[in-house]
Amino acid sequence: MNLVLNEEETMIKDAANDFLFENAGPDHLRNLRDDPDSKGFSVSLWGQMIDLGWPSLLVPEEFGGLDFSNVGMGQIMQQVGCHLATSPLLITGILGVTLLKNSSSNHWKAKILPLIAQGKTKMAIAIDETSRHDPQVIQTKLTPKAGEYVLNGTKLNVVDGQVADSFIVIAKIPSEKPKETDDICFVIVDSNQQGISVKNNLLIDSRKTSSLIFSDVKVTDKQILKFNESSESILQKLLSTANIYLSAELLGIAEKAFELTMQYLKTRSQFGVKIGSFQALQHRSANLWAEIELGKSIVLKALRSLDEMDQDINKIASMAKAKTSKIAENATNEGIQMHGGIGMTDEFYIGFYLKRAKVSQLLFGDWKYHLDRAAYLSGY
């Protein structure tokens, strides 16, 4: 496996960096936070991303997309982390596209994928029902009723739920085979459908998520997404995809937090010398640098494994998320500590990285969750 970026991948990384350096970053994030009408992401930045074709990158050509690789898209997510860019790209442009692409429901593919590619729709994916991520716990239920279904249940921590045009909801459905436990399924519902209530939560990183309550929402059989493999395996792969892209973002966050900290160590003087000359700080910095180098390798490995449809993708995804979560945690915590008092102020950038890093770590499972998942998938 090639662990070096090719020319095309390097180009997209550099282009994303240049673009986001101009149009995103902590100052933009601060403006978003202070905007009383904030939707939890930057509407103008999303518009620019659409103009650049980012939501179409992973969409297959037949649906108006560019059919680009995950390694390529991963470079963008890494830069999204570096520049704290806020947008529906992860959920709609990556996870929504991946899920629909793998589905065998041609109706929905033909209907939604072109809209995503053109930036004309936003989705949300409702998975979690517990505050601490645990996809084994699904109580939202699709119950047969008069030839159709009704959907009931509560979903938490739904990213972009506040702005989505449609939701993909993971729900239990009675098994087709009698006596067996319920299956899970993916239901597409319009966010305007009757019986859905949305409650928004403002997060520490100035983004928003929603809690969704479904009360007797009417669902037809057509709204259940079909796949050529088990829904359980599709869900695991979807979560792995999410966690691999979050790993790329966390790596970008760690890299930038580290860079800001190194700049500070080279400019701040105490005791008449630059504080970067103190060995206590040098060794911790060198250790962090080594960790970030390891993070780069596992993120690239994970993205390539996604493109190559590696059989171990779930294990690799958990390894990547566990590792990058720890790296980003260390880089941002050490960043605050090494900045000293001013690291605690809103004026300096490092705090914004601390906040986003923690939200990304927790989303779809943190370090501890993924350590355990990786161990389980490794056979112990």
Binding site: S297, A375, Y380
Partner: protein, 384 residues
């Protein structure tokens, strides 16, 4: 078919015909062939394997043919390495000759030195040791005091070296000596070569906490070294030394990957057992996966860095790989102790006890972890 795939095909068939079956079996420490005048071949196969590989020039594949190599380009050498790994072939010879001083002589040495030393090295006839550390210069290597007085056609060397790996079995030493005391400490050093049988050279093994004595002290009393045995310019040995240390770091950075022993995971499952697919100790399970992830990341990084620097030679990441790899190896043995429990304390019949003790030296030899962190902070991060 490209030239490279033709080369792969011919290499594969040559190896199939020429690598004895017993040389493809898992290897223990005692099975390593280090060559040298006093080497006793463990088996006829071991000798045949070395002779055949040496006659192909494949013990040092990228060296020029006239110096005992095969003149392969990097891509061909990679193919050869891959084919050797594919059949699980043992290295025909290993040691500090081909991996360390050989490349340095090739890079910095005179034609005389190349002709004199490289072919014998490639054939495994001469075993080398390294005279770097001294009792008063460990981490501060450039502070070394072993003195070499210049008498025109030869030097007279006096001093003491320590931590000379396999000094008592080696035939020749590459040794850092101070040839000039009037200049800065980095400027007055030379790298010299001499036969360990030269009058005035004595070695004494050092017994370690693990019970073994792989290292020696070497005493140098009025040792005569010919002037043409200086590698590179006189007084400019620090450059060569740094080049060599990078090679050493790279080798040590690959630690923790021994194909011989069972994986820690297998050992954990054997010792602790599974219930419903989960290891019966939650804390060890967590420590183990944490270690496995870091180990995997380290391997990937080594792979990535090698790919990145394939065109530009030695990179600046060797300090990081050495630091991380050796710390991982220490963690591994701490974990194995927990897994094996009190049996791991048995001095005679459980190898973990001595391996654990020995691993404590990993983050000291070849430059301590702290020195590696200094290198990263200063040279890579630019922290002054």
């Amino acid at each position: 078919m490209t030239n490279l795939s033709l080369f792969r095909e011919s290499t594969r068939s040559w190896l199939a015909d020429n690598c004895p079956k017993s040389m493809r079996e898992p290897m223990l420490e005692k099975d390593i062939c280090r060559g040298g005048r006093n080497h006793i071949f463990q088996s006829n196969d071991q000798k045949i394997w070395l002779d055949r590989m040496a006659s192909k020039g494949w013990t040092a594949p990228t060296w020029p043919i006239e110096f005992g190599g095969a003149g392969l380009c990097k891509e061909q050498a990679k193919v050869l390495r891959e084919e050797l790994i594919a059949i699980e072939a043992r290295p025909p010879v290993s040691g500090m000759g081909i991996s360390m001083i050989g490349p340095a002589i090739l890079e910095f040495g005179s034609e005389t030195l190349k002709k004199q030393h490289l072919p014998a090295m490639a054939r495994g006839e001469i075993r080398w040791c390294q005279g770097y550390s001294e009792p008063n210069s460990g981490s501060d290597l450039a502070g070394l005091q072993t003195k070499a007085e210049n008498f025109g056609d030869h030097l007279i060397v006096n001093g003491q070296k320590v931590w000379t790996s396999y000094g008592d079995d080696a035939d020749w030493m590459f040794c850092l000596v101070r040839t000039n005391t009037d200049v800065g400490k980095h400027s007055g050093i030379s790298l010299v070569l001499f036969d360990m049988e030269t009058k005035g050279v004595t070695t004494r093994p050092i017994q370690l906490i693990s019970g073994t004595s792989q290292f020696c002290e070497t005493y140098l009393d009025d040792v005569r070294v010919e002037i043409d045995q200086i590698v590179g310019e006189i007084d400019a040995g620090w450059t060569v030394a740094k080049y060599l240390l990078t090679h050493e770091r790279e080798a040590l950075g690959k630690m923790g990957s021994s194909p011989v022993e069972r994986s820690i995971k297998e050992q954990a499952i054997t010792c602790l057992d599974l219930t419903n697919g989960r290891l019966n100790d939650e804390v060890i399970r967590k420590e183990l996966i944490d270690w496995e992830i870091d180990y995997f990341c380290h391997q990937l990084t080594s792979e990535r860095v090698n790919a990145e620097i394939a065109s530009s030679g030695v990179g600046n990441t060797s300090a990081m790989l050495k630091y991380y790899g050796t710390e991982l190896n220490k963690r591994k043995y701490e974990l194995l102790i927990s897994i094996h429990g009190s049996e791991s304390m048995h001095w005679e019949d459980n190898p973990v006890s001595r391996q654990w003790l020995r691993s404590k030296g990993n983050s000291i030899e070849g430059g301590t972890s702290e020195i590696q962190l200094n290198i990263i902070a200063k040279r890579i991060l630019g922290l002054g």
